[in-house]
Amino acid sequence: MPERVDRDRIGEAFEGIAGNTSRRGFIARVGGAMMAATAGTVVGRMIEPGEADAYHFCGHIFTTGSCIHPTGTPRIDADGWPLNAESGKPVDNLGRTIDKKGLPVDDEGNVLRDPDGRPMPPAPRSKVCDETARQYNINARIDGAWFRCCGGTVRKLVDCCSQSNTRINGDASLTGYCYSGRKVFCVMYFQTKVPC
């Protein structure tokens, strides 16, 4: 029986509304209106708010749930490996911060040791989309991506795509950034350091 992330649907609906009516979303729309007034109504209608509060993490504006991630919030590196959402440091499947060798480390980067002074053993580390697919017993892969501005830095929004007609939430899946008939099963993000 795969692990499931239970979600309160009513809560999701309210969160979705909040995302769409947040102050930042409002400012984005006002900015869009001002821009449209100067650059032309047609162009103004074409482009979309570039920064929006999201459904469950900044930048993600649809309602699909997060992929399974050791620390909860589905932050990944450029290759899809899990990172701690707050520190941006790599984590293993247990959610422990690890070094380049995969050994668990403390907040200062010192290798954690056992009572004998040996380094604590490494734990498995899986790519987030792959691990989610494994747990749900589906085939999944990363297709397209899209970038948005979140909290002053550029963020890459990444979909974990599968042929499944249901998503991690349990209801019908959407196309999102997926292609070749695949649909979004769950979502992740890659945080850049580029200001915006």
């Binding site: 869009g32 979309e48 570039g50 290759d79 397209g144 890459k156 350091k193």
Partner: protein
């Protein structure tokens, strides 16, 4: 516009455009056009790159060319002040870029993501290119974008707007179409990751923007200073001005020259007149119209006895003398510089004379001198009526030129010669800008200076001088 300045602006446009690659839209484009964003493989990616580049160019030329046209429509001319303002804008932006200041005002907009799902990738890429080329429709990653807009507006020179637009469009597109074909490969992934995770790369290109803007600022101020120095031309006569250019006739053959403050360039004819878009010269009985700044001929015709010409962007007026009788005609110009039918404006029989015509837009001025009186007349070429602006039975009113609602002319009296400036329709002689014992002759008016010819001697030696308005 000097080639060095054009190169500086194009370079600045290139770098500033390329800086936009670090925006959410720039990153999104690399991964969308690249084979990471569709199922079409490398063929689709290359097709999308091929459409993205022209799209970006079109968008950038529309933005910066359009802003330059707006600047051109603002009354006044691109003179010293305009270049100085543009230079200051570039310099301030250079400082902000060098210090890596946060961009403000920011445009928090993104490209429409769904386009890539609802239309073929090459078509979507072309439209994405247009939006990115427009510059102000999505996130701005450098103050340079605002600065380039300010420079385009201040100069009001379509050539500058085109140069900036082309540079910006190419700069916007090149990094994207270079990286997109490799987006799914190791090299491409490393490059994108480096861009995303090494903010010092973004800082470095912003520092490059700062250097390019600083160089542009220096060139702009230098160009403005050079224009400010075009105040006096020895051994020349019959000035015509369309700032920053001054045209004049020189030597016994009245050979035509034009200068922007640097080395004068010869025009293929005599007795020149210039407007922002055109130059007109005489070649015997042939009147040639040239497109500026390349000075390529766009039209010519052969009015018998022609000896003077004045041109605006919409009309060409010329004076003929046949059988001792002066006549002034005007012909409309279309957008390509082709001439329409001639309309006779004025005539004067010997010993009366008509002056050199002066023209601005659709307003023609000339003076009529007879033994009884002299008068300055305004003719509205776009269907307006003919008005006698000034007349005198005592003094000689001659050589008028017009710019906007200002009229410059020469008044000769028993005691000397006066260069006077008044307003159209004000019905007074206006104020004296210059008084000379020597004869004052043909005039030209810019937004900042009044130019006039000074004649000396029986076979006169001519010099062009000028005074602030």
């Amino acid at each position: 516009m000097e080639p060095v300045l054009v190169i500086a602006l194009v370079t600045a446009g290139l770098l500033i455009g390329a800086t936009g690659t670090w925006s959410p839209c720039g990153f999104s484009m690399i991964e969308t056009i690249g084979s990471t964003g569709h199922t079409g493989g490398q063929v689709t990616t290359l097709a999308a790159c091929a459409t993205f580049l022209p799209g970006a160019l079109v968008g950038a030329v529309v933005t910066f060319g359009g802003i330059a046209l707006i600047g051109a429509a603002i009354p006044g001319e691109a003179g010293w002040a305009s270049y100085t303002i543009a230079g200051v804008v570039a310099f301030l932006a250079a400082i902000a870029e060098a210090r890596g200041k946060r961009i403000a005002p920011q445009i928090r907009r993104q490209l429409p993501e769904h386009w890539r799902r609802i239309m073929p990738m090459p078509a979507a890429a072309a439209l994405y290119g247009v939006l990115l080329g427009l510059g102000f429709t999505t996130f701005v990653l450098t103050f340079g974008v605002w600065a380039l807009a300010g420079i385009s507006l201040a100069l009001g020179d379509p050539t500058a707007g085109l140069a900036i637009g082309l540079g910006f469009g190419v700069g916007r597109a090149i990094p994207i179409v270079t990286l997109a074909p490799f987006a799914a490969r190791s090299f491409g992934r490393k490059a994108i990751t480096l861009m995303a995770e090494r903010p010092e790369l973004y800082r470095a290109i912003r520092f490059g923007d700062a250097l390019a803007l600083a160089a542009s600022a220096v060139e702009l101020v230098f160009a403005g200073t050079a224009q400010a120095e075009v105040k006096l031309v020895k051994g020349a006569s019959d000035p015509s001005v369309a700032s920053p250019s001054l045209a004049y006739a020189r030597g016994s053959g009245d050979r035509a020259f034009v200068t922007d403050g640097q080395d004068p360039a010869a025009l293929p004819g005599t007795d020149p007149s210039i407007s922002r878009q055109y130059a007109a010269v005489l070649d015997g009985d042939t009147l040639r119209i040239l497109a500026r700044p390349a000075n390529t001929e766009v039209a010519s015709f052969d009015p018998a006895g022609v000896d003077a010409v004045a041109i605006s962007d919409k009309w060409v007026a010329y004076r003929t003398r046949n059988d001792g009788r002066d006549r002034i005609y005007a012909r409309p110009l279309n957008a390509l510089g082709q001439v329409g039918d001639a309309k006779r404006i004025a005539a004067a029989g010997s010993p009366g004379q008509l002056s050199l015509p002066g023209i601005d837009d659709g307003t023609l001025v000339y003076s009529v001198q007879t033994t009884k009186r002299s008068k300055i007349v305004k003719a509205g070429l776009n269907g307006g009526k003919r008005d006698v602006l000034l007349k005198s039975n005592l003094s000689l009113l001659s050589n008028p030129s017009v710019r906007g609602d200002s009229l410059l002319y020469v008044r000769g009296t028993r005691t000397g010669w006066e260069l006077r400036l008044t307003k159209l329709g004000k019905n007074d002689f206006g104020r004296v800008l210059e008084e000379r014992d020597k004869r004052l002759w043909s005039t030209a008016l810019s937004s900042t200076r009044a130019y006039y010819t000074v004649l000396e001697g029986g076979r006169p030696r001519a010099d062009i001088s000028s005074v602030r308005r």
